[in-house]
Symmetry: C2
């Protein structure tokens, strides 16, 4: 038995693996693989329809929001968003609270003016900036809800009247929030939604069609909405894995149900780390992520002892991101509580 703490691509529910594996051999008793069916068939259309419907249901989205499954990963959204929303002479407001947010800022600058309202770069992104003002005349405000690499998470939605745009790649569907307050939400699927190779984009239609540049078809959200995410051949299998994962989430009690488990997992792990001598947590206590727990073990012999114990116990994905070092343990929706119990037991025994 493995305990998979990978930061993404990451663990998915066992039953999702089993059903996905079966679908590759014989999809819904058609005698065909999910990999060889046409995307413009009723069969695949039903996969797409149900995935969209479940997303809307689980996030309690209103009618103004469209759900898209697009190619390109969240990194493509870094430039596609300003390309669709920002004219050259206009300003967008961004929060700089991690590696991914700063990449989004860099790309936005290619399309218009960027006002960075606050940054936590001064302390290596170990906290979430607070008390900043969002300019009322900015075109939109962009932030990252959870910083996968640094292990910080922002649970409160900023107060502003301008359109809110959020990169939720690493904490989408992990806790309840008023998703309707966002004009745009995007997330790479490979953490809480499904498998790598597809990107969920949720967009409120009234913010579109206001830039004066000409957009390539594949970059134009309106064309994707009109084509029901099938402007070209979609990543069929990746979307199917999303559907299976969304079904599983519904069975777990939806976002509200999984939030309880996610809180219990994070509480147990942080408590264990706080109490354990030799383990350090660099992140500000109030900004600790429930998805990605970052810690350091300054003593090299203890560090080695920990790594050896992890390996013996079949634990993978505990090493920190190459840009930060130390350790990072990811507790996404599909990670069982048992894996956290096993990890905390291991830490206590060190």
């Amino acid at each position: 038995m493995k305990h998979n703490f990978n930061a993404g691509p990451s663990i998915l529910p066992k039953e999702v693996f089993e059903e996905a594996s079966q679908g590759i051999l014989n999809f819904r008793d058609t005698g065909l693989s999910i990999l060889e069916i046409g995307h413009r068939t009723p069969l695949f259309q039903s996969v797409m329809d149900e995935a969209i419907m479940l997303t809307k249901e689980l996030m309690h989205l209103d009618r103004d929001h469209s759900v898209l499954f697009l190619h390109g990963g969240a990194t493509t959204q870094f430039f596609q968003i300003p390309m669709n929303l920002l004219n050259e002479n206009e300003t967008a407001a961004y929060l700089d609270c991690g590696v991914w947010g700063s990449k989004a800022i860099k790309e936005a600058k290619l399309f218009g003016e960027v006002k960075v309202v606050a940054s936590s770069k001064d302390r290596n992104y170990t906290y979430i900036p607070k008390g900043y003002a969002i300019p009322a005349d900015a075109k939109y405000f962009h932030y990252t809800t959870n910083n996968t690499i640094e292990g910080t998470e922002m649970f409160d939605i900023p107060e502003t009247n301008i359109p809110l745009v959020a990169d939720m790649s690493s904490d989408i569907l992990s806790h309840s929030m008023d998703f309707n307050r966002f004009a745009m939400i995007y997330a790479g699927a490979q953490k809480n939604i499904g498998a790598a190779g597809v990107n969920m984009v949720i967009v409120r239609q009234d913010i579109l069609g206001k830039v004066n540049r000409k957009l390539p078809g594949m970059m134009d959200y309106r064309q994707h909405i009109e084509a029901g995410s099938m402007l070209n051949t979609p990543p069929v299998f990746a979307i199917y894995v999303c559907l299976l994962t969304l079904r599983w989430l519904k069975k777990m009690g939806g976002v509200e149900g999984i939030e309880k488990i996610n809180r219990a997992k994070a509480d147990l792990l942080y408590k264990t780390l706080d109490e354990k001598h030799g383990f350090e947590l660099p992140v500000a206590r109030e900004d600790r992520s429930r998805m990605n727990v970052v810690f350091l073990i300054p003593d090299h012999s203890l560090e080695k002892k920990f790594l050896d114990a992890c390996q013996q116990a079949g634990m993978v994905g505990v090493k920190g991101h190459r840009s930060v070092g130390g350790f990072r343990v990811s507790l996404y929706n599909a990670l069982p509580f048992e894996s956290v119990k096993a990890l905390t037991a291991l830490i206590n025994e060190l």
Copy 2:
């Protein structure tokens, strides 16, 4: 037993389905699913490395060409190519010989001047234009080697000294040709390469870095080359399916080996259709595609008889593209000769 004549996503070898299905449960005896392993691990790096190596080997590519596996499908390449290669005041030459080529032309016009050197639109793209001149001062010449929808294919490589760019989505790896003559080749994977959700892009590095516009990171081929197709999380599973399919192709004798089978399949089907009363082939004989065979059955009762017989025999994917009507039968690499034999027997018995 099904006979899958889908135009894409389409049939893949049975052993690819079996190995892909197994990899979702337990990838290479790691106890982990291919869907839950990190992309920056030696495990996945070995998948990527082998897929690139096999592509180079099967296509006999020289050192000047880089092989990339990118998000977005071939449709993204329609605009990414001019974005990378064409300045606003420069001209690119395009051949207009099908629905996909005309879409590529439309996107290129957003970035610079487009000179359409020839078009077969006058006769619904049922032939490949010949005898046109390619301007020697154009930045590049773009064409589609095989027109999936219309059923035409261009086997000869145009003579020109300017960089050749080809959309080979539906006939890549199906017959031998001098791939090194191209400055760029691209192809959605979902026909001859693997599963939907990834795009193969082959580029000769000397044509890059010459435009003066600023490129978003995800649109810049140079950044993808430098990052080894891992600028962001790649479509892990789709790339794995490519690897399995490329391995199978090598076992079949490579491109040269599969070409013999592909010729035999197409020859048998076209001969049967030519000889069968009531079946019409709209495509010019010399431009017939070996991958997508388009035909019409003007008599409605014969048409119905044919469709009923196909359904009874477990044949799927024989209907023509919604923009053309009639019938289209796709004979991609993985389609067994037995399926063509079954289809021709069925036609002869009508």
